[in-house]
């Protein structure tokens, strides 16, 4: 067991100007499950591969425990990695795949057999030990890849999108299995995914990256409740947060026909660069449907209603007389409102919604950083 520390770790691919990973500072506690998440090309996989030793570190250091492993060979880092495509050796049986690292390290055969059988029992693979990988299903292959990591009893597990090749149902199932297995083994784990749901459900802490730069680290709750900037706010949460940039007048943001009062400290945080505007975000579930004319409410025209049984979401557009600011959620150009699934408006209807008190997130319009 060990901690993992990225100390200003930087990776610049040859022939490129911009670093793929830029001055990454991250400390992972002993036994912690940390999820690196971000859109594709954000440097999350590169960070993991730097830790694995498969990628050079061009600046800064990487430590496992107190040991500087920046220039240590991958095999000597005492880590085990689970690859996206599992990278099982096709010419070896499941048992040989799992015990291969031990065999190379010169571990006695009896001990290899014992450790492989233990891992197989944990992962429910005992009856497949003599099969070749091609005779296994996708889920079983994934478990073999996990088993290969477990058998090594490493200080750190590295997982590079290990669930992305499974179907949706199996992914959810395996997600919880991996998380509980990690808790049980207590091995420090760094897990890479592009799926924020996976990040929220599995991680002790989440680190969001964008363009090679670390945006925010925190527990799933912190990431959800207090995103540090507009990017994290829009990335974490499904459906995505509604975010728009609005004029500020007399200490309040003008959202549609409503005035959203801002705290004094937030207004004080505005600079000239913001040009009297502020970015406001609120999650679909932070909105209440209220009677028309309620103070602080604004109107949304319903474009489409998505019913999920337990919830229903209205996708609509903001109605505004003042016409300031665009409001949208995620990649769509629509406002998303969670409503009571028993009381669903018709397409084309206008509904009045108000933000629950204190549930708005306010960001600087120029820098995108959280205010207050």
């Amino acid at each position: 067991m060990a901690t993992v520390t990225f100390d200003h770790a930087t990776r610049v691919y040859p022939g490129t100007e911009r670093p793929a990973v830029d001055q990454l500072n991250l400390h992972i506690e002993d036994g912690e499950f940390l999820v690196l998440v971000g859109p594709s090309g954000c440097g999350k996989s590169t960070s993991l591969r730097m830790l694995a030793g498969l990628e050079d570190v061009n600046g800064g250091r990487i430590l496992i425990g107190d040991r500087d492993v920046t220039d240590v060979q991958p095999k000597d880092r005492d880590i085990a990695m689970v690859f996206q495509n599992y990278a099982l050796y096709p010419h070896m049986s499941v048992a040989d795949n799992m015990g291969f690292a031990l065999k190379i390290a010169g571990t006695p055969k009896a001990e290899i057999r014992q450790r492989v059988e233990e891992a197989a029992k944990i992962l429910d693979l005992t009856e497949y030990l003599d099969r070749k990988p091609k005779a296994l299903s996708g889920g079983q292959r994934q478990r073999v890849a996990m088993g290969r990591a477990i058998v090594r009893q490493p200080q750190v597990f590295l997982m590079d999108e290990p669930l992305s090749n499974l179907d949706a149902k199996l992914r959810v199932q395996t997600r919880t299995q991996i998380a509980s297995l990690q808790r049980r083994l207590g091995v420090t784990t760094v897990y890479v995914t592009h799926d924020q749901t996976e990040a929220l459900t599995m991680g002790d802490r989440i680190a969001v990256l964008k363009g090679g730069v670390l945006q925010q680290v925190g527990t799933p709750r912190e990431m959800y409740d207090a995103p540090a900037n507009v990017f994290v706010a829009g990335f974490i949460g499904s459906p995505a947060m509604n975010i728009g940039t609005f004029d500020v007048k007399e200490g309040a943001a003008l959202v549609g026909n409503a005035q959203i009062p801002l705290e004094r400290s937030m207004v004080a945080g505005l600079t000239d660069a913001d040009a009297g505007k502020v970015t406001v975000g609120f999650r679909p579930e932070s909105l209440d449907v209220v009677p028309s004319g309620t103070p602080g409410s604004f109107q949304v025209q319903v474009n489409i209603v998505e019913e999920l049984g337990s919830d229903a979401y209205v996708y609509g557009s903001l109605q505004s007389d003042l016409g300031t600011g665009e409001l949208s959620a995620g990649d769509s150009d629509q406002v998303i409102v969670r409503i009571n699934p028993r009381d669903v408006p018709m397409k084309g209807d206008i509904i009045n919604v108000a933000i629950k008190a204190g549930h708005e997130h306010v960001f600087s319009a120029s820098s995108g950083n959280r205010l207050g």
Binding site: K75, N85, P90, F100, I104, A105
Partner: protein, 329 residues
């Protein structure tokens, strides 16, 4: 219209060529035109249309001569008198033919293994280096040379001039020996090593073929598998032994067996360099010598049948491996 059958002048020959091309175009055009006409064709007509010509070609070009050869192998030198297995007994007991069989065995054991090994090592060493393309082109070039051409080139390399004052060596190898202060050697005459020097020629030709196929197979190994192997503690020779070779095993088998078949049939090299003298003859060359030089059709046919029987197991193995390789995918 005599010129069609007995073309004399160049103009007439070009005329014959034009007629042949025209005939080809007309026949192909007619086939292509007719192919889409009928709407409902019984399946057997289609099957016969596609498979028939190939079957006919095989029957007349392969099966019939094969059967005649087998028949001839049981008759005497003129094909008049039935002699039972006498020709085979001669082939397997006569000292001259035992040398031929021994040489063939050496060829089949050495040439495929060394060609494949050299091709494999070369492919691994050159893989992902800066001058990969150039290096590959270099070793692939001999493939483009005919066996006869290669043999002539190597005959010059092995050329021997007696070691006397005033005599200049023209052979590359002997000149090197002389420079090193060693006496020049008669590479193509001194037994038993002359067979080895002939095998070198085939290896020179076939290594490029082995390298091309194996290099493609090596490049097809997924990156994440080699990365996983690196994490598992492999590098250098270990990687080669545990990952590279097992991953390209099907390609290795195909290369080995293909070169083995080529080696069994090798004729041009022996014919061009020594004509089978000095104890270098192999089955294919001896079969030619007996059939067309000694006019012993029976013994020649028997040797051809021996060659045929030797090739069969390799081909069967090759086909089975190809099928296995397809199943993996």
């Amino acid at each position: 219209m005599d010129w069609l059958l007995e073309a004399g002048s160049p103009a007439q020959k070009f005329g014959v060529m034009a007629v042949a091309i025209l005939l080809f175009v007309v026949v192909m055009g007619a086939i292509l035109f007719a192919v889409d006409r009928p709407k409902r064709v019984p399946r057997w007509v289609v099957a016969v249309g596609f498979v028939g010509p190939a079957l006919l070609g095989l029957a007349f070009g392969l099966v019939y001569p094969g059967l005649v050869t087998i028949k001839n192998s049981f008759f005497d030198r003129s094909g008049a008198e039935f002699v039972g297995f006498d020709n085979y007994v001669t082939a397997f007991t006569n000292e001259q033919f035992l040398i031929v069989l021994r040489n063939t065995a050496i060829w089949v054991l050495v040439a495929p293994v060394l060609s494949t090994l050299i091709g494999l090592v070369y492919a691994v060493v050159v893989d992902r280096s800066r001058f990969e393309r150039f290096a590959k082109a270099l070793i692939f070039l001999p493939m483009a040379i005919s066996m006869v051409g290669a043999s002539i080139i190597w005959r010059f390399v092995y050329e021997f001039k007696p070691d006397q004052p005033g005599v200049q060596q023209t052979g590359l190898l002997n000149q090197l020996l002389v420079w090193l202060g060693l006496p020049p050697q008669q590479f193509l005459i001194n037994q038993p090593w002359n067979t080895v020097f002939l095998i070198v020629i085939l290896i020179w030709i076939q290594s490029g073929f082995a390298m091309t196929l194996l290099s493609a197979a090596i490049k097809a190994i997924p990156d994440d598998i080699t990365e996983a192997a690196r994490l598992d503690g492999l590098h250098g020779l270990g990687m080669f032994r545990y990952i590279t070779v097992p991953s390209i095993r099907p390609a290795l088998v195909v290369v080995l067996t293909t070169i083995a078949i080529t080696t069994l049939k090798v004729f041009d090299i022996v014919r061009t360099t020594t004509a089978g003298q000095f104890g270098t003859s192999v089955v294919a060359n001896e079969f030619y010598t007996q059939s067309f030089r000694q006019n012993n059709a029976g013994l020649g046919a028997a040797l051809a049948v021996v060659l045929f029987i030797l090739v069969i197991p390799i081909i069967v193995y090759n086909v089975r491996q190809l099928r296995l390789a397809e199943e993996v995918r």
